[in-house]
Amino acid sequence: MPTLTIDNRPVTVPDGTKVITAAEQLGIMIPRFCYHPALGSVGACRVCAVGFKEGPIKGVEMSCMVDAQEGMVVATDDPDAVDLRKHVIELLMLHHPHDCPVCDEGGHCLLQDMTISGGHGRRRYAGAKRTHLDQDLGPLVQHEMNRCIQCYRCSRFYQQFCGYRDLGVTGIGTRVYFGRSEPGTLESPFSGNLTDICPTGVYTDKPSRFYGRRWDYERAPSVCIHCSLGCSLTVSARYRKAVRHEARFNAQVNGHFICDRGRYAYAYASQPERPRDALIAGRPATLAQAATQMSERLAAIEKGTGPDGIALMGSARSSLETQALLARLHSEKGWRTPCFSADDAATRVVSSALNTLNATNTIALTEIEGADTVLLVGADPIGEAPMLALALRQAQRDGSRIITVDPRPVTLPCAHDHIAVSGDDLATAVAHLIIGALEPSREIALDADQQDRFKTLKQETRDIPAAAELRAIGHALTTAWRPAFVCGTTVPDPDVPPLMGLLQALVQTSCMWSGLFFPLPGANTFGAHCLGGSDALFEPLLAAVEAGQVKALVVVENDLFSEYPDQQRLAAALESLELLVVMDCVPSAITARADIFLPTQTIYEAGGHYLNNEGRLQVATPVIAGGLSIMDTGGGNHPPREFREDIPGGTPRPAWQYVAGLATGETDPPDVKPLLDEALTAGVADGERVSLPSASREWPSIERIGAGPEGDAGGLTLIESAATFGSEPLAAFSTVLAELTPLFGVTVHSETAQRLGWRAGDRIVIPDSAPALEVVVTLDDRAAPGVLLVPRRIGIDRTALRRYMAHLLAE
């Protein structure tokens, strides 16, 4: 821990800290272009020069390249250093096009700031400017190469940090060029971060291009609700329209970056199709009329059937406020326990996963970067939780071994060992890992009871093709210092997470640190689990509707059709209801069927609390009041010429207000904080993890490890799983992301393809599908044989697809 002096003030920093970082701790921001805390030091720009007065190094040196050492005396205002910095800025401006007036970076541009603060104002170089051609990099990122200052941040970020290989640096000398081989859409699902890390305006946010300056925007800290990781965002809005997400630093969750799904998902909130008015039987009504009718009709039904006749349906994308009020509605009114997902299979895995988490085994996303081995079972990060893939990449760059065990051909932007195991065998696969960890190891001591259980486990565990490999990995896990265990919650069956928990608990005894990480199906699945209880399944609810026991259903921010596979059955059941109330902020198949529809606010208007996949409580601040964008109402004129007291299109209210109104009859917002505290058992501070049970050493039940796969061993299974784009219900409305969503396709092992008579590139038109569905065949031998893998896709005819696949299975 050296102590050094910077600008006459002492500071003590850990070994290996660069002087530029040490200075930050004193609040001194040494200028920098190429240095970035996530990308490290490379010494390319030379703008961080400082004077070293005393100590092991003397003279002007780069503060990003020098490790802080005991006794150093550093002056950031050393005249020679200041002169060098000034000249470096002058040199960087030689070829700059001076197009700040039309540059979207203007106003938050590091180069602008440095040019001003460095005092460069007069051009002395009389030579010609070097110019470049720009490239079309796709719908997300705008390219303007002439503004480049060659800091190499983009190529380092894109290739080294993210592991993608289609953007980099070409050319030499003053002609170095940052871009792709040819114009074309960037392949990385993290490409939007280029707009954040480029210190000038080479990469700017394309969808919000020319919409405003940084200072024009209303900006607020928020949370990404487009997967369960809950990355931190800053939302920018202008003219009543959210137009930009930027990554907000969060040391526990997302670090400095976010994924493109999260960055470009906001379009649903301002899409023209967004329902903004209340509807009664499909006809516009005032909010008051709709709310009154809702209360009256529910009361009437309740009178007839008792409280059991009314069911509540929430969702994993609602805020904790909405979820908590639904839970309270149930407890106050006695209506049926709210159910938060129509996908019971997933709900079962989620509850077994979350019941496995405890106060000591739960880890945060960035902690995975420090793991030396990461085992992923039934998890496909790029599709389910994109930023997890970046964390894995950082671990791998540090020498960590990454192992994926999955029926899907999991691809990661880093080297990893993949073991294809069919979905039914995942529990058995983890059992083999456990056997491998225990068998030859002397490190893990078992007591007598555990010995017994281990014996049973060994007897029960069936042989599978990858058994030997898995056991070897299991054994290797006992020699890891910092192993992390990741388990998905959509593909595995409910036995898998507890078995992963057991494996982790066993390995824990022989390593320094380890932990569990479970990506969940929705942004607030954790909240739903806490508030809904694990017994609230959809299938019984549906049966009760069909049986006529439930006469009224209140659906809050959930398009059941995208979660429940059998569309016809669902449609018929809904048809049989006396009253279907739907509250939502996006149009959907179920919105159209509502007897009463209430428009809800989005996260940008309502804000809200969310629990991410590890139970971290995070808060989104409202950024706009709501209403149609001035850009739309003004018809291009600004300000709009029509004067009125309310905001056009400003009818929607937060969903929890409607729910609260049903409980209390009031429409005033209740204070949800005490409700939350009650629901979550303790007062958790924003940004902290909710309290989890303390660790138990119980062995989980092991029902499925012995059972063979259902059907015959050579059977086919259909796996629908989340893809980066097109699967998440809100982001699916983003037109720019729609451009990036690949053609709908099925991926199979070549053996399986041969059995089915398919070849790569075949297009299958699914019979009787509406809208007509075409499926492209892709072969991938990293998939488990027998698996038909399709992405979860909002808006496709899943019934027809399933019918067709079932027909294949039958044949």
Partner: protein
């Protein structure tokens, strides 16, 4: 084979193969297989394909990428760095005129003027008959033979105008004799 009712199939057409001799590809594959890190052969592979095509065309770049297990961009990152890899079409004979100090002192400017006049092209251009491309180059390590030039990486010097004319004549004759091949 399953042909579900109502479903129809479409087949994608396989992309056209690049016309590079099997033997060359085989040789490169073997060389790559023999080393621990395929990337270390990047320059050799690019040069080999370039010698075959005359320049490293997009298709050749893609082929190099495939052979080396690199992305097209990663190959471009290297290809565009080096002096002797051409990512644009060049003539059958690439004339590199050394313009560094010693050759400049020995009359490089005269050489260039003479070539410009004889070939009717400027630096960076190729003659209409596709025979010659003219490029400047840094000291090629033959200062004892200044002024010196390279023709297809072969050195010639010291040069005079008449020696230059002889050279051009020789290459023109060679091209007439063996059209279409510069290897």
């Amino acid at each position: 084979m399953l042909r579900p009712r109502g479903a129809f199939f479409e087949r994608t057409i396989e992309p056209l193969e690049l016309h590079v001799s099997e033997a060359l590809i085989e040789k490169l594959k073997n060389e790559i297989a023999a080393v621990e890190h395929p990337r270390e052969l990047a320059v050799d592979v690019m040069m080999a394909l370039q010698d075959h095509h005359g320049y490293l065309s997009d298709a050749a770049r893609d082929q190099a990428a495939e052979l080396l297990g690199m992305s097209a961009l990663e190959v471009d990152e290297l290809a565009t760095f080096y002096t002797f890899i051409f990512r644009e079409p060049v003539g059958r004979y690439v004339i590199h005129v050394c313009d560094s100090l010693i050759c400049w002192m020995a009359g490089e400017e005269n050489i260039v003027d003479h070539l410009r006049q004889q070939l009717q092209i400027d630096f960076g251009q190729t003659t209409a008959d596709g025979l010659f491309t003219l490029l400047p180059v840094c000291c090629i390590g033959y200062c004892d033979r200044a002024p010196a030039i390279l023709v297809n990486r072969r050195v010639h010097g010291p040069l005079t105008n008449s020696r230059l004319d002889e050279l051009l004549q020789k290459y023109r004759a060679e091209a007439a004799e063996k059209p279409g091949s510069n290897v």
